[in-house]
Symmetry: C2
């Protein structure tokens, strides 16, 4: 039995909008699974080693539920362009370079380490179309202690120069890739890029594979109005975008759909009824002027909403920054909605970036007993303060701003994967 | 004659939306004033020492034209509150603590050093109501090499507990403060907090002092709809908010007005006609859900628009972050305007954060000959890249994201005030 005891100010998002705070408490895990949070160290652990972080904040680490690994080298570039132009000018040419396995190894090694250092311990990630680079990505994530899912991207139409597969290649490469996915913590996910990139034949086959192998699915939905028009032309038989996925068996309670910016009442109902996961990527939507997803409305309607950095549409990997981006976007949405919808509180946005994703991984929100331990330890600020701050106040500020090197340690599946 | 020669990729915002880039060039200053930018080192300087930054970016440093120094300790706090509640809960109690001169010294010493380290070399800044703390702030800025203006805040109504002056105190303290302002690079500025905080008598007297001593003026205008209602009640004789300043001689071409979020056609015309400066504080407006200032429209109409971090409504001092916030806000504005207004490009927003403020300080945009040298040197990224990037591409990315420690040096008035 391997015991891990972390001491500090323990903070978790047990419910949407509700923090559970245990000041100077003990977070205990056995064999990587959480046993509980304790105000006093239980007698049975009196002899055990305690990792004592003093007055630091010990909080849940993050789940980044939508990001594009091969766009990592172009972070922060082309931010003046709308989605479809940006894809052709920057995105496809950059992703095409991941045919080069040495380059992929270098970029992905760094990406995986940076995720760990920033406290992202769970991901659902798009790779490129390349089988070998996708396996390299999975291996690098596994080695860095990151957990979750990765998908080899499928796209057999509307790609860029040197960046498109034939339908047959796309399917056969996917099958070969799946045969070689033997990682402990990183699993495969079926990943049609989005409807404009995938022929009907390819979509059909991907739906079949997902069903046969019982795999989760990720793609994009209703990000941008130009995209909606394109999908409408490609699928005149479908009343709405989501139906292009549903038609081919790619629409169920293990499907992640990034964006959902323009999902109206009917589409949101389809998302909710199927148990599909809406991945809100606020920073990306801001950068590419896609719009502001109706997050508050989706949450109220009972849609599963989680967060994604969506790099490189998003310009930062740090989920702290993506959480504040979600708050900001909800404030813009409030103004667009004529002050009728509430913005996200810090507690609520933190929940979306952590606990909201737990059920996707078969777990409960917060530091619930039985969950795998995913946590980070944060030192806060040395700014002069006019009075002692509560742990809640320190937490709120830490979400908005941290000093360089503030993250002292990150734990994933009960293992320390980063320390300063 | 003191000569400074900086070598690197020289980037400046010579015109709104136009960068001037000299790759591997020389930026030369004599006695703190820019001589010129040269592709080859002029023969007369062949014997001079060159500060060679290799392939780094050498760009204009920033002007932060609106920020509240005594709100520095509360950065990132209370971001879930609307303006007026936030003022009473966090702002006024925090500012009140600057009665304590030791505390003021500690906080302002750190603030001044942080400004320098982040590449902000020019400021127009609100202090608190306290004379001594305001002098301490000016001294700390001067010592850190920051230049610009600071104002002791005046407020004789609607303040907080222990944070308000009588009209007489406010005036006499202002006079005493002005008598002691003898700093080389930090000058005083008349600073009525905003109309709701200042009685008519106080406003009148401040207008008189500004005129008599030929001082610039800073205040707030049309930030928030609740504030507009309040001003309307206090000044039933004024058709619009700006007239409450104009009435008392506080409205001219050396007046800075922060926010202007809700300034309509008529108010914007009054701003333009008087040559008043509109300080756009995008991050603060986002955080406090104030709204989105019509920046593009103001610029098109010929209003002087500059940028402010507005800490602690804004959550970051770094003007890099406030420049991207301005871009983001202009994108939100585009959506609010039904896609009819253009968002700010990176070049345009960089201009607003640098060159746009130059005429306020009696200078020309960009690295114009005769300007005082205000510059920063930035190393960019070690991210693997799929191809060599142009200096313009590197600049665009650097505005969005920098690595910790990326700023290698900062120069203000020709002196190196920060180096790594």
């Amino acid at each position: 039995m391997e015991t891990l005891i972390i001491k500090g100010n323990i903070i978790s998002a047990a419910e949407f909008g509700e923090l559970e705070i245990t000041e100077n408490g003990y977070l205990i895990a056995e064999n990587g699974k959480i046993k509980g949070i304790y105000q006093e160290l239980p007698r049975e652990y009196e002899e055990s080693k305690v990792e004592d972080y003093g007055d630091a904040l010990v909080m849940q680490s993050f789940a980044d539920m939508h990001l594009h690994a091969p766009q990592y080298p172009m972070l922060g570039m082309g931010m003046d362009m709308p989605l479809l132009e940006w894809l052709n000018t920057y995105t496809f040419p950059t992703e095409a370079c991941f045919k080069d396995q040495d380059f992929a190894r270098r970029a992905y090694h760094r990406l995986a380490r940076e995720l760990a250092a920033k406290g992202t311990t769970r991901v659902c990630m798009f790779s490129s179309i390349h089988r070998e680079a996708t396996l390299i990505l999975m291996e690098e994530l596994e080695n860095a202690g990151i957990t979750g899912y990765v998908g080899k991207v499928n796209m057999d139409r509307n790609g860029g120069v040197n960046y498109q597969e034939t339908t047959e290649e796309s399917i056969s490469e996917t099958v070969k890739w799946l045969e070689r996915c033997n990682f402990e913590h990183i699993k495969p996910m079926i990943t049609p890029r989005f409807t404009p990139s995938c022929s009907n034949e390819l979509m059909q086959e991907l739906g079949r594979i997902a069903k046969e192998k019982n795999l989760p699915i990720q793609s994009h939905l209703s990000e941008n109005t130009g995209e909606l028009d394109m999908v409408k032309k490609l699928h005149p038989d479908c009343a709405q975008y989501w139906e292009t996925y549903q038609k081919y068996g790619l629409w169920n309670d293990r499907t992640l759909m990034a964006h959902c910016v323009w999902s109206d009442d009917r589409e949101r109902k389809a998302i909710k009824d199927a148990g599909v996961w809406a991945v809100h990527c606020a920073a990306s939507n801001e950068n590419l002027v896609s719009g502001y997803a109706p997050v508050r409305v989706m949450v109220n309607e009972g849609v599963n909403v989680v967060l994604g950095s969506d790099i490189a549409g998003g310009d930062h990997l740090s989920m702290f920054k993506n959480i504040t981006a979600a708050i900001r976007a909800s404030k813009a949405r409030r103004i667009l909605d004529d002050w009728k919808t509430e913005f996200l509180s810090v507690e609520e946005a933190f929940y979306l970036g952590t606990s909201a994703a737990a059920p996707f991984f078969g777990e409960k929100p917060g530091f619930a007993p039985g969950n795998a331990l995913h946590a980070l330890v944060l030192e806060d600020f040395s700014l002069p303060s006019v009075r002692p701050l509560s742990v809640r106040e320190r937490f709120g500020r830490a979400i908005y701003r941290r000093e360089h090197g503030g993250i002292r340690a990150v734990y994933s599946e009960g293992k320390k994967i980063f320390s300063k």
